[in-house]
Amino acid sequence: MKLKKAFQYQLVSGSKLLGWTVLWIIAAIIIVPIITTALVGRVNSLSVNDFLPAGLLEFSLNVFLIFYSAVTYDGFQNMIQNGIGRKTYFYSKTLVIGLLALVGSLVSVGYNLLVSPFSPVEREGAFSLETMYYHFFSNSFMNHFMPFVLLVLLTICIAATFMFIGSILGLFERRTQIALIMGVPIVSLIAFMVLASANEGVSLKLTWIVQALMWIAGETGNATAGALNPFQPLISGIVYSIIMFAGAYFFNLKLKTPR
């Protein structure tokens, strides 16, 4: 396998794309609003937080990962033209996603810590996870470390989901892809509404779903704030992402160039 070469290539192109995503998001949510504010003559009302909003990098990272993970076919066709098979393509891309999710989360936590003194709302972004699992361990390091692990895992789960979706979409022509992207959410929304209105018992099902979600979040019956069990989301997240990656792998092996 030429995993190293494929990984290097994917890492460079992925990092470039991540860089561009950050720049575009900065342009969209910082520079443009600031210019608009300046144009209407209210520069004085700007605070440091307007220049360095908390959660900026986290948001960018997730936008990038969603996009990068979902675009399956384009990467495949370039790899196969260069003599790289589907397995190597999948592994190299998954590794790059994992690496960028980890490094990206580290950098964004650091960034959030850096800008938190200027933030009007305390404990934003990454710290919201921390508030949930703040008191589970008696060890202070673990109480900080575990939320970070969960943050990375959450990022990976999002990426894995979109990689899974992208791998399925990669099997279809562009026109079918667009139809699926537009159609599936609309159809499922309608189906859900029809089900909800037709079936009174749906509320019962919903409570079941809510309970499951609560367990995944770490519900233990302990009412103390911040004492949710982080191992429940940890295990759920790992199982979920393994399923998603396995599904993505399965569909990746079916990729082919059009006739």
Partner: protein, 291 residues
């Protein structure tokens, strides 16, 4: 030296059988002409060889290993085809670089030389290139890459006459300097007639011929003269086609002539070229030809 063997390759798209039980071995360091009419299955065969699409059944073995998702094997092959698989936003020089990253031994010097000979601007993005220049870019890579099996699917698509000749000149030159196996698929047979050593002819998804051009031409004849005499002479022979001009008739024969028969003074026997042989073997209106 790379050994390539296709074993009973069949490919179906839905109910349509595009390739039907194709088995063949490629000799090392040989220029092959892959011939067949449009839709005969040439591109499909090359796509299966490079694992761009899966075969419905059968296997491709390269140096004894399967080609399916096998980087080591796929790295020995480069397929230049009409399909545009390079990133649209990548610039020409970046595409050279990425090729060099994956295929070690990429000849940058040759690639630059060829780019300037063909007038290909290396700073253009792939999406900005015309059809002809996309072919040229992929042709340049095919000649510069250090793979042992170079597959060219309609390499001169969109190229003008000068560029077509330039490309084949360069191909033969690099081949003379660094022999490797080429498989050239084209419908412009005349352009490659002098270069190809071995012919692979596909008709209706089946491999009809796999032989040296020399052997094939040595048993291909045109028999020309008055209709009656010609037909008498060629009766029972493998006549694959004919042309008529008034009462004058040319029968094309593939296979040995009958040495016993006396050739009338009015009838002449000549060899034919590859193009003529191809047209008559693959002509759909003529069902006389049997192999």
């Amino acid at each position: 030296m790379t050994e390539v063997s296709l074993n009973q390759i069949t490919k179906k798209f839905g109910k349509q059988t595009v390739l039907n039980d194709i088995s063949l071995q490629l000799k090392p360091d040989t220029i092959y002409g892959l011939l067949g009419r449009n839709g005969a299955g040439k591109s499909t065969l090359l796509n299966i060889l490079t694992n761009r699409i899966p075969a419905s059944s059968g296997s491709v073995l390269i140096d004894g290993q399967t080609n399916i998702n096998n980087d080591r094997v796929l790295g020995k092959i480069y397929l230049m085809s009409e399909a545009n698989l390079y990133p649209n936003r990548a610039k020409v020089f970046q595409i050279f670089r990425q090729t060099a990253h994956f295929y070690s031994g990429f000849d940058f010097e040759l690639a630059h030389q060829l780019a300037s000979k063909f007038g290909l601007n290396e700073n253009l993005r792939f999406s900005k290139l015309s059809t002809g220049y996309r072919s040229i870019l992929k042709d340049i890579i095919a000649l510069s890459v250090d793979a042992e099996l170079i597959l060219l699917d309609e390499p001169t698509l969109g190229l003008d006459a000068n560029h077509r000749e330039l490309f084949y000149r360069e191909l033969v030159e690099t081949y003379a300097q660094r022999p490797r196996t080429f498989v050239i698929s084209t419908h412009l047979i005349e352009e490659i007639a002098g270069m190809i050593e071995n012919v692979l002819l596909i008709r209706d998804g089946k491999l009809l011929l796999d032989d040296t051009a020399e052997n094939l031409l040595a048993q291909s004849y045109s028999v020309t003269g008055p209709e009656k005499e010609v037909q008498e002479y060629t009766a029972g022979l493998n006549v694959i086609g004919h042309d008529n001009l008034g009462k004058l008739r040319s029968d094309y024969v593939f296979g040995q002539l009958d040495e016993e028969r006396v050739l009338p003074d009015t009838v002449t026997v000549e060899g034919i070229d590859l193009q003529k042989l191809f047209i008559n073997l693959t002509g759909q209106t003529d069902k006389e030809g049997q192999l």
